[in-house]
């Protein structure tokens, strides 16, 4: 059984609708660590050594956050900047993250259609996440496709609960090694791996 670390970043979690359910569905699962950055470091003063220790202990790292301005909330970026040190995460001696898995779990107001070449966001989620893909590559990690909840503003509570279940299924599946590595690497979204793909 692999261990999963969910690094969660949401500056206004108390107002969130979708993430609240997503968090609820995975928090407390066996071998899953829920790591709430804004709660731990409200002053952005990140304890790098402690974070590295936690990272080292897990096999699968999930960055869960709202997809603000096609990117992540600032504390998560700060976290990446400080914690993935040269000589620890990357560089000749930086092998601490080697062979771990990394992916994003994001929520976005834009629809699946909007995140296409023809859509008004002009790029796909996969393209917009290239910086993280490359980050994983530099740290000798495997980058998995993202778990995405689209069109959050229009979701009903029932639909949100469905996504929460999907998310739980993804996390448990990864933890227990239920998915084929080929499927994981080749899928557009993690949603496809559990047969809940978005379709145009």
């Amino acid at each position: 059984m692999a261990s999963v670390l969910i690094v969660f970043a949401h500056p206004v979690y108390e107002k969130s609708r979708v993430n609240r359910f997503l968090v609820k569905s995975v928090k407390g699962l066996k071998q899953v660590t829920f790591h709430d950055l804004y709660e731990l470091y409200p002053d952005f003063d990140i304890d790098v050594k402690r974070e590295q220790k936690i990272l080292a202990k897990h096999d699968i790292i999930v960055l869960q956050h709202p997809f603000y301005w096609y990117s992540m909330p600032p504390l998560l970026k700060q976290w990446l900047d400080l914690v993935l040190e040269y000589g620890w995460a990357y560089g000749k001696e930086g092998i601490q993250l080697r062979n771990k898995k990394l992916f994003n779990a994001i929520t976005t107001g834009g629809t699946f259609e909007a995140y296409q070449k023809e859509g008004h966001n002009r790029y796909t989620i996969t393209e917009l996440l290239y910086p993280l893909d490359q980050t994983a590559f530099l740290c000798k990690m495997t980058y998995y496709p993202p778990f995405v909840v689209h069109g959050t503003h229009r979701l009903s509570e029932l639909q949100i609960q469905q996504f929460a279940q999907d998310y739980q299924q993804v996390i448990i599946g990864l933890r227990d090694g239920l998915f084929q590595e080929d499927d994981l690497v080749s899928a557009t979204y993690m949603n496809n791996v559990i047969d809940k793909p978005y379709q145009l």
């Binding site: 108390e14 409200p42 603000y68 503003h153 229009r154």
Partner: protein, 620 residues
């Protein structure tokens, strides 16, 4: 010379108002002001006050009793216990050595050995009233010199009890036996039991009876009734002590210590304090007015020689003892200077000795004049010590040690390294910025120097000290002195002499911030603001708010509060003199709360993250 009560009151009060004001302006302290006022209205200058000065002195001696009560309130029992080495060792040695030395001198000057012993013992005591008042006024009570002085005064207070018992034994002929207390008809061990019983009563009553009584009185919500109860308490204890033949000051002190942990401590303190102050003032005035300048004039050389000789002798003994009890340099000097005078107990003890004809009457008059003069000189000696002796012989030695360091000019000067300044200083140092520190606690200075800080001992508001500390080349001055008054004086000095310095000042509260703003300080830090907000943020978090949310809320509130502060200063002087200070505080608070409600920015600061509107638009 029959004068009406009102006339007398006018004379005393007017002389106090004028005398103290002048003395204070000249930087001489209030005690000297009162004493001089007394001299001026006394029989030898204006003659407003005649023989009745002595009676007034006896009445006003009660101020000393009240003072010890207040001091007791400040002193918790375990603190007193920790001082035992000083009280018994240092104090006991002082009384013992000084008594022996003065007794020998008196014996060789032709007194009988009994009289010599009585004189020696009496003159070994110092003046609690003058010393405590002066030390507290100068803010020196908490220094090691202040601490030791207090310990010695305390053991002197205790020493009065055996002295009162020994004098009758020393007396060879008893002319006029006056029973000193109601219990003198009992035998020795019975008296001892009664005395111990009285002390037990004070302790037990203080623990179990006083607080319920005060609670009961407090329920009436009549402030004056509470005050009356406080006075009643002090009078009762004093009377009880007199009845069993103990010093009333000692009794009230004990009661104060017992009540130091009670919830009414501050009430009691503030109720007794004005009475204490007025009575002490009256006491000092009457000491001034009873100095017999006729007698002094007739024996001018003898009196002067005796006053200076005795004070020098006492001072030397104090200095040696202080040194062996670990007081260093300027602190030891201060200790010796503060206790070198003779005290008010001498008036009591000499008249007591007179009753037993232990000392002859003319000598007693002379001695009393000497005691009064030495008391009057003490505040002057304080000033001389502060302005002439300390800077010349004690600070110089210290600054010469680091003379070379003055050259590598620090950009930052910290004035005051107390509980506020030390955090700033440590923080700067932790970040590799060394600051020049000015502080007037010599123990702290010692310690900091050992850790390699550049510290100058002395009052930071002195121009020459600031100059020596490199104020001309520094960029920033951090003002963190202990009282708002000191900070303001410092600001004025810096603004005048070193206008290029950026001033960052600690502020005590809102009002103090206004004062600092008005004197032109741009960077003001209210000492409790940040920490209260951090506490508030933590509290919010504990009842379920998100950490980041509370963090931002605290930052927002801080900015909001600073904004309101700079708004409010504009209205500060409108109608200020019409409402009382307490009322003003309440209206100010009201204004603040109203503004808190009006400022919507406090809550609406996350609209960038708020998807509420987006959601509505998306659905339509």
């Amino acid at each position: 010379m029959e004068k009406s009560f009102l006339f007398q009151a006018i004379v005393y009060l007017a002389s106090a108002v004028i005398g103290v004001n002048i003395a204070k302006r000249l930087g001489l302290g209030t005690v000297l002001g009162y004493l001089l006022a007394g001299v001026v209205i006394g029989p030898f200058v204006l003659g407003f006050v005649g023989e009745e000065g002595k009676d007034i002195m006896h009445v006003s001696e009660f101020g000393v009793v009240m003072m010890l009560f207040v001091i007791g309130l400040e002193l918790e029992p375990n603190l007193l216990w920790r001082m035992r080495r000083l009280v018994i060792g240092l104090g006991g040695m002082q009384v013992f050595c000084t008594t022996i030395a003065i007794s020998f001198a008196a014996y060789f000057l032709g007194q009988s050995w009994q009289a010599a012993l009585a004189i020696g013992a009496t003159l070994s005591l110092s003046s609690t009233a003058i010393v405590m008042q002066t030390l507290s006024e100068k803010g020196l009570l908490k220094t090691s010199a202040g601490n030791s002085s207090f310990a010695v005064l305390l053991s002197q207070d205790i020493a009065v009890i055996p002295l009162l018992a020994i004098f009758p034994i020393l007396a060879t002929e008893v002319i006029h036996q006056e029973s000193t207390s109601l219990i003198s008809s009992f035998s020795g061990w019975q008296q001892t039991l009664i005395v111990l019983g009285a002390i037990a009563i004070i302790i037990v009553a203080g623990r179990y009876i006083v607080s319920p009584v005060f609670r009961w009185v407090a329920k009436t919500r009549q402030r004056e009734l509470f005050m009356a109860t406080a006075l009643l308490l002090v009078f009762l204890i004093a009377e009880l002590m007199i009845v069993v033949g103990l010093s009333p000051a000692l009794g009230t002190f004990l009661a104060g210590v017992v009540l130091a942990n009670s919830e009414f401590k501050h009430e009691l303190e503030s109720d007794i304090d004005p009475f204490k102050g007025l009575l002490l003032g009256l006491f000092f005035i009457s000491v001034g007015s009873t100095i017999d300048f006729g007698l002094v004039r007739d024996n001018f050389l003898i009196v002067i020689a005796l006053v200076l000789g005795l004070m020098f002798l006492k001072g030397v003994i104090l200095y040696v003892l202080g040194k062996s009890f670990g007081l260093k340099g300027d602190q030891n000097m201060l200790f010796a200077v503060s206790l070198a005078q003779m005290g008010e107990f001498a008036f009591v003890l000499f008249s007591f000795a007179g009753q037993y004809a232990l000392i002859n009457a003319e000598d007693i008059d002379l001695l009393i004049a000497i005691v009064a003069l030495s008391m009057a000189l003490t505040p002057l000696f304080f000033v001389a010590n502060e302005r002439l002796i300390l800077p010349r012989y004690f600070t110089k030695e210290k600054s010469s040690r680091t003379a070379d360091e003055i050259h590598d000019k620090n950009p930052v000067i910290i004035a005051g390294f107390g509980r506020y300044g030390n955090i700033v200083g440590r923080f700067l140092r932790a970040n590799g910025v060394s600051a020049t520190v000015l502080d007037n606690d010599s123990d702290r200075v010692e310690l900091l120097r050992r850790f390699g800080y550049k510290v100058y001992y002395g009052d930071a508001s002195r121009f020459d000290l600031m100059k020596a500390a490199g104020a001309e080349t520094a960029k920033i001055i951090i003002i963190a002195m202990d009282t708002p008054q000191q900070c303001l004086e410092m600001v004025a000095m810096v603004k005048k002499n070193f206008p290029h310095l950026k001033i960052l000042s600690r502020a005590y509260d809102r009002n103090d911030s206004f004062d600092l703003m008005e004197s032109g300080v741009d960077y003001i830090y209210r000492e409790t603001l940040d920490s209260s907000l951090r506490l508030g943020a933590d509290a919010l978090q504990m009842i379920g708010f998100r950490a980041y949310q509370t963090h931002r809320a605290a930052r927002t509130f801080l900015k909001h509060d600073e904004r309101v502060l700079s708004d409010l200063i504009k209205h500060r002087h409108d109608s200020k003199s019409y409402i009382s200070v307490a009322k003003e505080k309440i209206t100010e608070l009201e204004e603040l709360i109203l503004r808190d409600i009006k400022d919507e920015g406090i809550l609406e600061r996350d609209s960038g993250w708020d998807s509420e509107k987006l959601r509505i638009d998306a659905k339509s």
